[in-house]
Assembly symmetry: C2
Amino acid sequence: MRELTVDLGERSYPIYIGEGLLDSAAGYFTKHGISKKSTLMIVSDSHVAPLYLETLEQHLRGEGFRVTSAVVDAGESSKSLAVLEQLVAKALEAGLDRKSAVVALGGGVVGDLAGFLAASYMRGVQFIQIPTTILAHDSSVGGKVAVNHPLAKNIIGAFHQPEMVLYDLNTLQTLPIREVRAGLAEVVKHGLIWDESFVEWCVTNAGKLQALDADALGYALYKGCSVKAAVVSEDERENGLRAILNLGHTIGHALEAVAGYGELLHGEAISIGMIGSAKLGLRYGAPQSVYDVTKQSLQSCGLPTRLPAHLDTDAIMDAMSHDKKFKESKMVFVVPVAIGKVEIKSDVPVEWVREIVEELKQEA
Amino acid sequence: MRELTVDLGERSYPIYIGEGLLDSAAGYFTKHGISKKSTLMIVSDSHVAPLYLETLEQHLRGEGFRVTSAVVDAGESSKSLAVLEQLVAKALEAGLDRKSAVVALGGGVVGDLAGFLAASYMRGVQFIQIPTTILAHDSSVGGKVAVNHPLAKNIIGAFHQPEMVLYDLNTLQTLPIREVRAGLAEVVKHGLIWDESFVEWCVTNAGKLQALDADALGYALYKGCSVKAAVVSEDERENGLRAILNLGHTIGHALEAVAGYGELLHGEAISIGMIGSAKLGLRYGAPQSVYDVTKQSLQSCGLPTRLPAHLDTDAIMDAMSHDKKFKESKMVFVVPVAIGKVEIKSDVPVEWVREIVEELKQEA
Ligand SMILES: NC(=O)c1ccc[n+]([C@@H]2O[C@H](COP(=O)([O-])OP(=O)(O)OC[C@H]3O[C@@H](n4cnc5c(N)ncnc54)[C@H](O)[C@@H]3O)[C@@H](O)[C@H]2O)c1
Ligand SMILES: NC(=O)c1ccc[n+]([C@@H]2O[C@H](COP(=O)([O-])OP(=O)(O)OC[C@H]3O[C@@H](n4cnc5c(N)ncnc54)[C@H](O)[C@@H]3O)[C@@H](O)[C@H]2O)c1
Ligand SMILES: [Zn+2]
Ligand SMILES: [Zn+2]
């Protein structure tokens, strides 16, 4: 069992990573002040609920918690105000009050949605993250919660820190391999922005990680969460440092938007985006090895590095111009200067970006 | 011109109360760090916009601010997630970014709706309150913002403090008299919970207030806001003291729900509710004069004190049982023990409440 703390003063909270936490959640709940008097609501999705919801519900009820559950359709489309409204109805019918907690059991979609429910229901109730994807090591830490608007992703949300994050490694065993790899993209990202030796470790252990070796996964998630926690502790509300977490995301978000959400998973899109950032790094004078190691680390995890040629360059550039990181004819990018070290460049010429998008289509 | 501060550490903000502030808003915006580089969005409603929106827009544009506006239908039904979604679309189309501000120009409906937009758009942007009703002296101070759910009022929201409150007394001149009186109910409430001499002042000046005398209004709003600010400063997130602001609201909310929103204005409903609370006070041993002065102060402002006889007592009791203030067979009430002093009673027998509801139907 591994444990770390997200250090945010009075909003600090622990992350527990281990096997079998679904069966021992109650002890952590009690330790961290979750009330048995008020009903708590578990939010899960249609893939995760059949696998793990009953286990968690029965365990919690057996320990004297009052539990109600809501299951949403799996997939990004559940992160909407319409689904939020349905969840609020459920919460009201089940009698959730200001002392209740909302528990997210699922990946980043469920975490973001349930988190915004917790942030806004009665102007804020307690929130617990039980992530079941690798990607969610990123989304479950840091308190960013949101739903989508038809015109923009994650545009309606809040900063609402959880009381704790409970990572049960056993739940990861049922993840489709594509989701495993997509999640590893954020793990590698955390190495690339912060910790060279962790990147080396990822390359060495890429096979074990994809084989869902519990020990390797536990360590990778511990390290990934540690980097995220360190960054968030310094900059809870994204006024500065936190921007480095966006490595690969400017191009990545544009690819997701243009491909239509679904063709590329988020992790796949930012994998390609991180190759783009590494290319930008070269233009800013980073050594070739930065590009080489970036590519090696992503490829070793089975992630794509080439931009699908059928995606239109103009459309990609256009999608980026809607991104918040765009300013006049210069763009803002997170750029690697070494492995484990990035800088924010706010003067990136749009032309460079266009050239790199083209190059990414030729990438091996 | 009167000025006071809501003291909340780094979230402190000023309230300015005076005539002609719509024409001088820009100076306050600049003083309090509202950016001219990002577009700001004014939210107003279909009654207020034709009267005051153009004045404010033109003034701000003339001073170099970038301004876009959104007008929602007047009335409680605009406090919904559906309208929020429309406002987010407008905000995106107008290019609002993280440095933008949302400005509420209107009564409590617009303030609560625009405030929740500001709290959730891009996880929170700056917010400015320009209240145009008397009631909004209450709603614009304290940072409680929310929209309604079909099943419950104000259930989806946030605590999001404004950067400032700008009260232009001139805008109150167009208020329908019924809205004037309803607003005075919250003014009187602030006296009843906190300040005996202010209650006396309200009785003496009730005529001037209903005649919209600017001097009297300015003083009343200053005092009302001061009480609200003092309470909120002690208890920003409603963990304790802030509950005293609910004087008259347990019964009041039930009456609004049962009458159907519209038959009774919020201020009218809580006026009747405050009479009910005073009756409870008598049962707890408060002197008769507490009841008498409560009644006199509300009646002098032209407010109702009798519960409409056609409202079903069972339905009212039922509505209260859905209220958050209900616990098993005991109810929680704010009860006056003297003029200017209330206590929270958490052991009020349901039977007493039922009797008082019946008595209120006989009230003179
Ligand atoms: N809040 C943040 O800071 C943050 C950071 C990164 C990403 N995100 C958000 O996270 C979301 C993506 O997260 P995700 O990749 O976890 O997506 P997801 O929640 O959609 O999960 C991916 C898929 O795996 C399924 N699944 C989840 N756990 C499973 C398990 N244990 N076994 C089998 N199937 C399982 C899901 O049902 C889904 O089909 C996006 O909406 C993104 O915006 C948020
Ligand atoms: N956030 C809080 O702390 C808090 C506190 C109390 C009430 N509230 C909320 O406030 C709302 C009630 O506020 P309200 O009474 O101001 O209602 P409102 O905003 O609906 O205004 C009342 C009516 O007056 C009109 N109006 C407003 N200003 C006018 C003007 N200057 N001239 C002419 N007409 C004008 C409006 O269009 C509306 O028809 C409710 O939704 C309630 O839940 C919130
Ligand atoms: Zn990401
Ligand atoms: Zn009120």
